[in-house]
């Protein structure tokens, strides 16, 4: 009976309820942060994590060192940046999902479904296999991934535009085709190079998504991209609300849809390119998280965006922890874990939308 009344009150309407929801998410994220930093092959005591963070950020040994140097280096240089990166990747992918859903007015759209992730992945694999863009130094994979993302979304938009107008159904269908094309390209590059070489192993492993290459540098890079994009997207939140009504209605309500669509595409491409370059292809986060968040806080973007960022971050921290313990001592690709959650969810959504999943002309 009690549970029933909770469900009836969703989505949360009151401001206080919304803030409570976000606070709970932040607490869960802190819990997940500690758990995720603890799990792994080396045993670590929970209190060490906080102490090491304090010591490192202050730059002095405020807490007496009760741990070995190797433990400290594992926690500080490997696990902590990895957990933060997991949060950022989850948050960023959720944002991309929200953007693509507003662009296509379709709750099934996300960068993975639309083929942008595959495009970014092909660009990154090209760089790994052939060593292109070496002028960009350690950022060469990021450059390759962003270019791949740009190409894939341009192709998807070009194919789906009829009379300079893009309908949702066409965009989603084009996404499927683009995704297939770029995945084929990636596979071709890998098999052309013969299987078995180290590069192929890296590329293959990375195609399925992983955060094992997390470093502080990468974390800061993604953090700055995510922060800038989040602020910009938040600026557009009013326009995104109106865009959900359809292009025609948005025009009549005063939205400059051409401008907003270009902004969405640019933001989404940059974000996806950056994320894929550090984490590889991680599917379905952008699909599952916005959907679940909407059922809690509603469709209004000024509420949806902060909550989805938190929930997406939490989800990926947990998935990353699962990927490290599920088949320990080796590691499961992160994309496999998210797909195990996401793919059934995708199927359920398609079934649920069976009657309403049709394009808008």
């Amino acid at each position: 009976m009690h549970k029933h009344s909770i469900l009836q009150n969703l989505p949360i309407k009151k401001r206080s309820g919304y803030l409570l929801f976000c606070s709970v998410l932040i607490l869960l994220i802190m819990g997940a942060f500690i758990i995720s930093a603890l799990v792994g092959s080396v045993n670590i005591r929970p209190d060490w994590i906080g102490k090491i963070i304090v010591n490192k950020t202050v730059g002095r040994d405020i807490f007496a060192k009760a741990w070995k140097d190797t433990d400290e280096s594992i926690i500080w240089t490997i696990r902590i940046p990895r957990v933060i990166l997991a949060f950022l990747v989850g948050a960023g992918l959720s944002l991309c999902g929200i953007l693509m859903q507003a662009l296509t007015k379709n709750s099934l759209a996300d960068p993975y479904v639309l083929g942008i992730s595959s495009g970014a992945s092909a660009g990154a694999v090209f760089v790994i296999m052939y060593g292109a863009f070496s002028f960009a130094g350690s950022y060469h994979i990021m450059v390759g991934a962003t270019i791949g993302a740009v190409l894939s979304i341009m192709l998807a938009m070009k194919v789906s535009a009829v009379n300079n107008r893009i309908t949702s159904t066409q965009l989603v269908l084009a996404g499927i085709a683009v995704s297939a094309l770029f995945t084929a390209l990636t596979n071709f590059m890998i098999y052309y190079r013969q299987t078995g070489s180290d590069k192929v192993k890296t590329a293959l492993y990375w195609m399925m998504g992983s955060l094992s290459g997390a470093t502080w540098d990468r974390m800061f890079y993604i953090a700055s991209v995510c922060a800038v994009c989040t602020v910009l997207i938040y600026l557009f939140s009013g326009s995104l609300d109106v865009l959900l009504l359809g292009d025609d209605a948005a025009v009549t309500l005063g939205v400059n849809i051409r401008r907003i669509k270009i902004c969405i595409i640019i933001l989404c491409t940059v974000l996806t390119g950056a994320i894929v370059s550090v984490s590889g292809v991680i599917g379905f986060v952008g699909l599952v998280i916005p959907h679940i968040t909407r059922s809690f806080v509603g469709s209004k973007h000024s509420r949806l965006i902060p909550a989805a960022v938190l929930l997406g971050g939490l989800f990926l921290i947990l998935c990353d922890a699962v990927s490290r313990v599920a088949v320990s001592p080796s590691e499961l690709p992160l994309g496999v874990v998210t797909s195990f959650f996401g793919a059934p969810f995708f199927l359920a959504l398609i079934r649920k939308n069976g009657n309403t999943f049709r394009g808008r002309n």
Binding site: K13, Q101, K105, N106, S107, N163, Y234, L235, G238, S239, D241, V242, L244, L245, G246, D247, D248, A249, V251, T252, L253, G254, V255, N256, R294, G298, S299, K300, S302, N353, T356, R358, R360
Partner: protein, 255 residues
């Protein structure tokens, strides 16, 4: 004073000429109906006016200003539009839906102000949906949704409202109710209308369209002759005065 003026408008898709040399003028405070058979270009004309389609040639004036020189938000403050929205997939509650009508008035980063909420509530009140504020939009019936969309257009507080078949798919009670709501607003209304009796009852003036041209117009009771109805719709009809209301009505005489 002319509220809306269309001069010499042409519109085509590919080789197909959908609208040709359209001229029309709507004065402030008029209730004007746009009438014609399916596929004659009514919706296309309205879409050109509310800026979803770009005309090939011709100018549209809103308050004597070229509409294409106005920013989108300015247009939305002067002209509200109500079209069918059957494909909204993301749910929101009724008040949120109506508040979207206030988009043009919003400042960046600002949430809905009290003025916005007041305008939205007033609009809901005038369509008789004031008790539905917190209901989910997608759970409403067709007629209720339509009334909420009208409320959204009214919340724009524009002096001109354009409607594309506002009563389509509605039962007869709702059809008359919606037209009555519009009539009560004391704003300029330009609407495509299917039902000739509704046009006769509510319109100050009608504009008749066929095959992408305007072929006539005027006061409904005078412009809608049996000959004109035959020409537009290919059906025999007879005009007569209702014994109860004293208004002119159409009676159809199919073969």
């Amino acid at each position: 004073m002319s509220k809306l003026k269309v001069e010499n408008l042409d519109y085509s898709i590919g080789e197909k000429q959908l609208l040709e040399s359209i001229d029309l003028k709507i004065d402030e405070g008029e209730f004007v109906g746009l009438i014609g058979p399916n596929g004659c270009g009514k919706s296309t004309l309205l879409k050109n006016i509310y800026r979803v389609c770009q005309p090939d040639r011709g100018v549209i004036y809103l308050d004597n200003e070229n509409i294409h020189s106005l920013p989108g938000k300015e247009t939305a403050k002067r002209m509200a539009v109500m079209v069918q929205e059957n494909n909204v997939e993301f749910d929101m509650d009724v008040l949120e839906m109506v508040l979207l009508g206030r988009y043009a008035y919003k400042k960046i980063f600002a949430d809905s102000t009290d003025i916005d909420k007041e305008a939205a509530r007033k609009a809901l009140l005038s369509v008789g949906m004031e008790d539905y504020e917190e209901r989910s939009f997608l759970s409403l019936s067709g007629g209720e949704k339509q009334r909420v969309l009208i409320a959204r257009a009214l919340a724009q507080q524009a002096h001109l409202i354009i409607l594309d078949e506002p009563t389509n798919h509605l039962d007869i009670g709702y059809q008359y109710q919606i037209m009555r709501i519009l009539k009560e607003q004391h704003i300029t209304v330009f609407s495509s209308i299917h039902d000739l009796n509704i046009a006769l009852h509510y319109c100050d003036r009608i504009i008749l369209m066929k095959d992408g041209h305007i072929i006539g117009g005027g006061v409904p009771a005078k412009a809608l002759t049996p000959q004109m109805i035959r020409r537009l719709f290919g059906i025999e009809a007879r005009m007569g005065k209702s014994r109860l209301t004293g208004k002119i009505q159409v009676e159809y005489l199919p073969d």
